[in-house]
């Protein structure tokens, strides 16, 4: 395939030029997905830890649903958020549709279950180890939750990164609720979809390569920070 060669040189050319349009799109992608990941983590990690810690009626059903939601198609989330934010929908008055905020909302809904479900697995293993000791020391449930989250922070990074990966790579939801509006809601993935529909396959693939590199960079950065911290003695 000559397309691959063309795509790689296109990707290099794009990065070399780094025109304003491209950097705008890249920055928006990062902004939207990082915001979504931060918000989803603040919601999802405590939920995951709480599920590991507490027994309550309906817990099993909750976990099953949560696990199922990990695989929810982004398009479905996009549609739901569209219906909610549409002028004809319940939150229409806020006029959020086709803004980056709408995209962040959709991505938060998309990845919170993923982060919570992965966090639950990590936290459950940890709680198995900690439970007796913490109870012996006289912990309150809230303190136990905090200890689990803090001590599991490195393992939890994996859950958070999985969320980031799903968010930044997803096109279905942001396309519907963002609308792929030039200079406003156009991100990497919707740009790629647009270029494919124009038949600019090399350009689309070039953008794809940049997206992959970006994803690798973010993952690498987190991994690096994590490694440094470990050596820093807070294992």
């Amino acid at each position: 395939m000559t397309d691959f060669g063309a795509a790689i040189s296109t990707a290099f050319a794009l990065v070399a030029h780094l025109d304003r349009d491209l950097s705008e799109v890249v920055l928006l992608s990062l902004k939207v997905s990082i915001s979504a990941v931060l918000i989803a983590s603040v919601i999802g990690l405590p939920i995951g830890a709480a599920l590991a810690l507490f027994r309550f009626p309906g817990r099993t059903i909750f976990i099953v649903v949560l696990n199922a939601f990990m695989g929810l198609p982004p398009v479905v989330i996009g549609l739901i958020v569209y219906l909610l934010l549409s002028r004809a929908g319940p939150f229409g008055v806020f006029g959020l549709l086709f803004t980056p905020t709408a995209m962040i909302i959709a991505q938060v809904l998309l990845i919170t279950p993923l982060i919570a479900a992965l966090a639950r697995q990590v936290m459950e293993t940890l709680w198995l180890e900690y439970e007796e000791q913490l109870r012996s020391l006289g912990t309150t449930p809230l303190r136990a939750l905090g200890a689990l989250l803090w001590d599991g922070r490195f393992s939890l990074m994996t859950a958070v990164l999985a969320g980031f990966g799903r968010a930044i790579a997803e096109v279905g939801a942001v396309m519907i609720v963002g609308g792929n509006i030039d200079h406003v809601t156009r991100v990497m993935t919707t740009s790629i979809a647009l270029e494919v529909s124009k038949g600019n396959l090399a350009l689309a693939l070039g953008l794809g390569i940049i997206l992959v590199v970006l994803s690798v960079l973010v993952n690498g950065m987190v991994y690096f920070l994590r490694g440094n911290q470990r050596q820093g003695g807070t294992l």
Partner: protein, 252 residues
């Protein structure tokens, strides 16, 4: 924060305490009283229920029947005056110092008092130079010493130990026994289970012999090791493998 000179919550009385898991009664009608002083060692073969009995006393397990009573508590929460060291030390993924600090903060010890308590506990356990080391890179024996130091810092009136030296070499065991005895000297009641008879001889003031969920004998250490009244306890001291004779050797 617990006052060091607070009146003791002991004695601890167990009244017809049973623990049932499914069909099995694991602890059967145990009644006994533990006094404020000295070292009580619980011995007995594997599966006798030693660990369960400790957990029942400590409050980690709730008895299916019977009652556990802290006679000296007088309305205070007895759990605040206890600590426990487990067979496998459980260390948080933090520094040695932070592990002790965490325990103190759970007991609501004011931050300004913690420093000295931590320093002293580390000193007693000989862990000063590891203060900033991540707890989980310590060796097994060192971690167990840290578990003891963590308990020490809490200044418990009673300390439960569940076979703390079961997987530790003799040198490390020696250090741990020294720390335990030092705590005893400071007035902490020690309740420890072990199946190391040598250790029981070295530490015990009082021995409880547990077999298949029942207390078969409870007597002073000198008396017990001189010649237990119970025939199963005699067999155990001789080193016989009790679990081979389940049918023949029914308790009186």
């Amino acid at each position: 924060m617990i006052q060091a000179d607070a009146p003791t919550i002991l004695p601890l009385e167990l009244k017809d305490v049973s623990l049932q898991a499914g069909q099995h009664r694991l602890i059967k009608d145990v009644s006994c009283t533990l006094d404020a002083k000295d070292v009580t060692i619980i011995i007995g073969p594997n599966g006798a229920g030693k660990s369960l009995l400790l957990r029942l006393c400590h409050g980690l397990l709730t008895p299916s029947a019977g009652a556990i009573h802290w006679h000296g508590a007088n309305g205070r929460d007895p759990s605040l005056y206890q600590a426990m060291v487990f067979q496998r030390p459980v260390m948080l993924r933090r520094s040695v110092r932070a592990n002790i600090d965490f325990a103190l903060s759970l007991r609501k010890v004011p931050r300004r008092l913690r420093h000295n308590l931590i320093e002293e506990a580390l000193h007693r356990a000989g862990l000063n130079r590891f203060a900033k080391t991540p707890a989980r890179v310590l060796s097994f024996g060192e971690q167990q010493r840290l578990a003891l130091a963590r308990s020490w810092a809490l200044r418990p009136q009673i300390l439960f130990l569940d076979e703390p030296t079961a997987s530790i070499d003799p040198a490390a065991t020696h250090v741990i026994e020294e720390v335990i005895m030092a705590m005893r000297k400071e007035g902490t009641k020690i309740v420890m289970c072990t199946h190391d008879l040598g250790q029981a001889r070295r530490l015990a003031d009082e021995v409880i012999f547990l077999h298949r969920g029942r207390i078969l004998e409870k007597s002073g250490a000198a008396e017990f090791f001189a010649g237990p009244k119970n025939d199963l306890a005699q067999a155990f001291l001789r080193g016989e493998l009790l679990w081979w004779h389940r049918r023949e050797l029914t308790p009186p």
